[in-house]
């Protein structure tokens, strides 16, 4: 005791006190470090099972890795570390490592100086449908057709597209005013997609000759084996009142396959009228037409240079702008694609398309309470692809176009925080169309009734935002738009004789025109009104409501086509804090869309789609160790095809298409100790997709080789997953 008193005299005590005063807080608060330092490292491992057959999982499992398996290892990891002295971050993340949609990510950067990162990403898209077929070599470049004796007697084929991408990137801050960025992404795609092949022929059909009229449809899987590569590099200059980016972006698509063709057709087919037909072989047979190769996507490339930026003239006037130039090419050899090249035709399309985009915009505050903005965007697509006669008389079209998109808007802040906005938008599209009187056949005869060179649309908007009380805010908006354009050009020359001459369509002749005009070009008037309310009803309850209604009215010099449409929707969302640790949410949505279409084949379609969704959820803590939550959601979607027939021999109406989902999700987390916890998740989902694309009332749609496509319409699946999470630090 006496020794200690001597050892720890006044001077020593003073020194200790001084040390604690200077360094005590930073040193003693490990609890504080946990609140303010990002350093974490965790690993989670577990298992999950899905109860239900593969067919029960086909819709839910399209992208989540669960289509082909009913059990999987759940494996994730996460690592974050920051060096406090240098500001260097190191992060690594792995997600879904036990499933086919796994991801790995790594990055390292010294904040404010440099960064590099890498990522590997996998994704498999599983087609929820399966093909029952006698075809062999499904998904290859030369499958063989084998007609089934009866529908359903073939092998089941599934279709997947697997994507795997590798990304590398980084940036480097040269100085306070210059940063360089770059990234590279390579993605491979492999698998097959469901498609089809069909033809009709007859003794007098030019280009499709055969001895007697016959037609057939076959399912055909298109093989996919391609790679895309995207590279982007930017230099960003910044100053106190400006920012400019100069960039280069290149993208290329490489397809390992050029075409696919049926290798052989074995057995008779069932033609479009239900009669047996011998496909035959050799010139002028249906079989020969069906064996023609189908072109797959050719290799293509594009290079883009751009300058983009903003500038502050002063505190109330700002400018943004962009100029970009893209050169896109496609010069894949037809022969290399396995395609036949006619005499006198070039060996490749040698396509070249140059796209220029220029944009300029400003925002200003001419008065303290007034804001003004304006923006113009101009796009010019210049198609320099050489033209040639690729069909008997068909010339590949010129796809040049120009677009202008512009808007101007003024807002004013009225007293009591009311804000009013008036805006006007102008959009203009000019497409390359054959000149009146010209004879170039660039659009196949009979494929399109009419076209117009340009369309323009003017939209006028008025919006009001008003705080009704301190807790209640509302907004109301109304817009009206008018679309019209240049005169229509008649492409409906039904004569087989060439050359044909394009002529303007007169509105006076509209009563005698029965062809449909393109919906994105016809005159249109649109009216839409939108309202929203946001209400903080109390400290615990908040509500949001949104309403929208719109009407479309179409017109064109024809008796058929789109005649009008409407939409309306209402959404209500609520959040309620039950107490400090429990919260409930809920929502209800209803939407309806109707399109009225008059077809030249003598019927009117009134297609109405309604969607209803609702959900409730609750999350909270039973104790400091146990957090739980539950979500119940539902969706009901119905599309009604109201067909009124003008054709007295009509076969019948179309059934409704409906889709419904009811899903219950339970989740929880239990903290075993400060470093580990157990997490569980249970999801029970029932869904039904009742549609007639591939079958109706139990009767399948059959291809000409008796192949059928199916998907289990009602699916029920339960997922149970448990994982252990360990925090290394």
């Amino acid at each position: 005791m006496k020794t200690r008193e001597k050892l720890f005299g006044f001077q020593q005590k003073l020194l200790v006190l001084a040390m604690l005063a200077a360094f005590g807080p930073a040193h003693a608060d490990e609890g504080l470090d946990k609140l303010i330092k990002p350093d974490t490292a965790s690993v989670s491992a577990g298992v999950a099972v899905e109860m239900g057959s593969q067919k029960d999982r086909s819709i839910m499992g399209q992208y989540n890795g669960w289509s082909d398996t009913s059990s999987a290892l759940l494996l994730d990891f996460d690592y974050v570390q920051r060096n406090e002295d240098t500001g260097t971050w190191t992060t690594a993340e792995g997600r879904n490592l036990g499933l086919d949609n796994r991801e790995l990510r790594f990055s390292r950067d010294t904040q404010g100086h440099w960064k590099f990162y890498g990522e590997i990403n996998e994704q498999v898209r599983h087609d929820p449908h399966t093909l029952n077929s006698g075809m062999t070599g499904v998904g290859s470049a030369t499958p063989a057709v084998n007609t089934l004796a009866v529908v359903g007697a073939g092998a089941e084929n599934s279709f997947n597209i697997k994507r795997r991408s590798y990304t590398l990137g980084g940036d480097f801050r040269v100085n306070s005013g210059l940063t360089l960025e770059g990234n590279l992404k390579s993605e491979s795609k492999s698998g097959a997609v469901r498609s089809g092949i069909g033809n009709y022929c007859g003794p007098v059909i030019a280009g499709y000759r055969c001895a007697t009229n016959a037609g057939a449809l076959l399912a055909l899987a298109l093989p996919v084996n391609s790679t895309t590569l995207q590279v982007e590099a930017k230099a960003n200059w910044t100053g106190s009142d400006y920012g400019v980016t100069v960039g280069y972006y290149s993208s290329s698509f490489t397809n390992d396959l050029g075409s696919v063709r049926l290798g052989s057709i074995n057995g008779n087919l069932v033609d479009l009228a239900g009669a047996a037909v011998v496909p035959g072989s050799g010139t002028n047979t249906l079989g020969d037409l069906l064996l023609q190769p189908v072109a797959l996507a050719p290799d293509n490339q594009a290079h883009q240079f751009y300058v983009s930026g903003n500038y502050d003239f002063n505190s109330i006037l700002h400018f943004t702008g962009l100029y970009s130039k893209t050169h896109a090419t496609q010069n894949e050899s037809f022969a290399a694609q396995g395609l036949t090249v006619g005499a006198g035709l070039p060996a490749s399309l040698n396509a070249a398309v140059d796209t220029t985009v220029a944009q300029a915009g400003f925002t200003a505050r001419p008065l303290p309470k007034m804001n003004v903005l304006g923006n113009v965007r101009y796009e010019d697509v210049s198609d320099a692809t050489p033209k040639a006669l690729y069909g008997v008389t068909y010339i590949n079209p010129n796809n040049s176009s120009q677009k202008i998109n512009s808007k101007a808007e003024v807002s004013y802040n009225f007293p009591d925080r009311i804000r009013g906005t008036l805006g006007i938008d102008y959009n203009w599209v000019k497409r390359n169309v054959p000149a009146v009187g010209s004879t170039d056949l660039v659009i196949p005869t009979g494929s399109l009734t009419s076209i117009r060179e340009h369309t323009n649309e003017v939209t006028v908007r008025a919006e009001l935002r008003l705080p009704l009380t301190e807790e209640l805010n509302g907004s109301l908006a109304y817009l009206q738009s008018y679309r019209n354009g240049s005169h229509w050009i008649n492409l409906g020359n039904t004569s087989a004789a060439y050359p044909q001459t394009y002529q303007p369509v007169r509105w006076a002749d509209a009563y005698s025109v029965t062809g449909i005009f393109p919906s994105n070009m016809v005159d249109r008037r649109r009216d839409k009104v939108r309202g929203a309310v946001d209400w903080a009803a109390s400290d615990k309850l908040s509500l949001q409501m949104a309403l929208e209604q719109g009407f479309d009215d179409f017109s064109a010099p024809t008796t058929t086509g789109l005649h009008g449409g409407s939409m309306n929707s209402v959404a209500v969302d609520a959040t309620y804090a039950l107490n400090d640790t429990w919260k409930a949410t809920g929502y209800v949505n209803y939407g309806e869309q109707i399109v009225n279409q008059n077809h030249s084949s003598g019927y009117i379609a009134r297609i109405a789609n309604t969607t209803s969704t609702a959900g409730v959820g609750v999350t909270g803590k039973f104790s400091s160790k146990l957090e739980v939550g539950a979500d119940l959601s539902m969706m009901g979607d119905v599309t009604h095809y109201g067909l009124e027939s003008g054709n007295s021999s009509a076969a019948g109406k179309l059934p409704d298409v409906s889709y419904h989902v009811l899903a219950l999700k339970l989740f929880g987390k239990y903290a075993l100790d400060s470093q580990s916890d157990i997490r569980f998740e249970v999801i029970s989902q029932n869904l039904g997709w009742d549609e007639w694309t591939w079958a109706s009332a139990g009767v399948p749609f059959a291809y000409s080789d008796n192949a059928t496509v199916s998907m289990q319409p009602n699916q029920s699946v339960t997922y149970v997953g448990v994982k252990y999470v360990y925090k290394i630090k």
């Binding site: 001077q11 002295d85 023609q292 594009a302 789609n609 179309l654 291809y703």
Partner: protein
């Protein structure tokens, strides 16, 4: 001083040097100059606020790291309040009931982020013109900002975009809810030159980043494919395969005249009464792939023969 006492003194001093402090001032807690704020908003009172230290905004080694007052203002009234009533709010707050103007709230962020290459078209953009604040989407104080994570980003967007919340739940959809595609993979919410805040200069250019096989150019092109993918597709979700807005033939018949006087119908297992032994019958034009059964290369074909002319091959 005895040798032993000198030794003890030396040990204490050595310990002091070993525990040399980091960059903070003695009374700062998370950010430089935060002492006045964290005197009240400390780990006992508001631990969730301190999580900003875990973020990029809390990296002290980066000289650009802001302090509390960089975003919330000098807030002298708030700091210096001595009364017994409710303390005045800081100059700029970011919650739903904030009295600060949108410009003031966004200005705090814009002071540093206005010149980033991904945000240099913010002024005049749709969200900016609609008075959406940065804080409406971003949680700056949270250790992990939900909108910057693919798994949780869409929920943030759905707070306003209810229609898209419905659509992504439909059976034909992009894998948004599965966490493989985020809203920001196609849209730049901070502003862009493309329509609907498309990430690249146009709709087609954005879609081509993942669907580059559709770009062509090809011998036989389908005009709406080169103009705008959304003429036929709704990328958020539909109840028709391939994200089509409506089923063929109705989708195709919104631009093209049908082949003949046939009304769509579904198969009943027998040949339809008005079947025409030709191109079409009520079932063939309606079911299966409908028009695309024959016109299968609907995005365009590079086949130089007449077979490719109507997208047959």
């Amino acid at each position: 001083m005895s040798l032993l006492r000198r030794l003890v003194t030396w040990c204490i001093a050595a310990g002091a040097l070993a525990c040399a402090p980091a960059v903070f001032a003695a009374d700062d807690l998370v950010l430089k100059g935060d002492a006045a704020c964290t005197a009240c908003h400390d780990d006992a009172d508001g631990p969730e606020l301190l999580a900003i230290g875990k973020t990029r905004h809390g990296t002290q080694a980066d000289a650009r790291t802001p302090s509390c007052t960089s975003c919330h203002g000098a807030s002298k009234d708030h700091l210096g309040y001595k009364g017994s009533g409710k303390r005045p709010h800081p100059d700029v707050t970011f919650g739903a009931k904030s009295a600060a103007s949108t410009d003031a709230r966004n200005g705090a962020c814009q002071d540093c982020h206005a010149r980033d290459s991904k945000r240099n078209h913010w002024d005049g953009s749709t969200h900016q013109a609609r008075d959406v604040t940065c804080a409406a989407c971003h949680k700056v104080h949270a250790a992990k900002d939900p909108v910057r994570n693919k798994l949780t980003q869409s929920e943030v967007c759905f707070a306003c975009h209810k229609e898209q919340r419905n659509l992504v739940n439909k059976p034909s959809h992009h894998p948004v809810l599965e966490g493989k595609v985020a809203c920001s993979d196609c849209h730049n919410p901070h502003g862009s030159t493309g329509p609907s805040l498309m990430k690249r200069n146009s709709v087609v250019e954005t879609c081509y980043t993942c669907h580059m096989e559709k770009r062509g150019p090809v011998v036989h092109s389908h005009q709406p494919v080169t103009e705008d993918c959304s003429i036929c597709h709704n990328p958020h979700g539909t109840t028709t395969e391939s994200l089509l807005k409506s089923r063929p033939p109705f989708l195709c018949n919104s631009c093209h005249t049908p082949h003949g006087p046939i009304q769509p119908a579904v198969t009943t297992g027998t040949a339809p009464a008005n079947a025409v032994s030709g191109w079409w019958n009520p079932t063939v034009i309606t079911q299966g792939k409908s028009c695309v059964s024959c016109h299968s290369q609907i995005h365009g074909s590079n086949n130089p023969t007449s077979a490719g002319q109507r997208f047959f091959r």
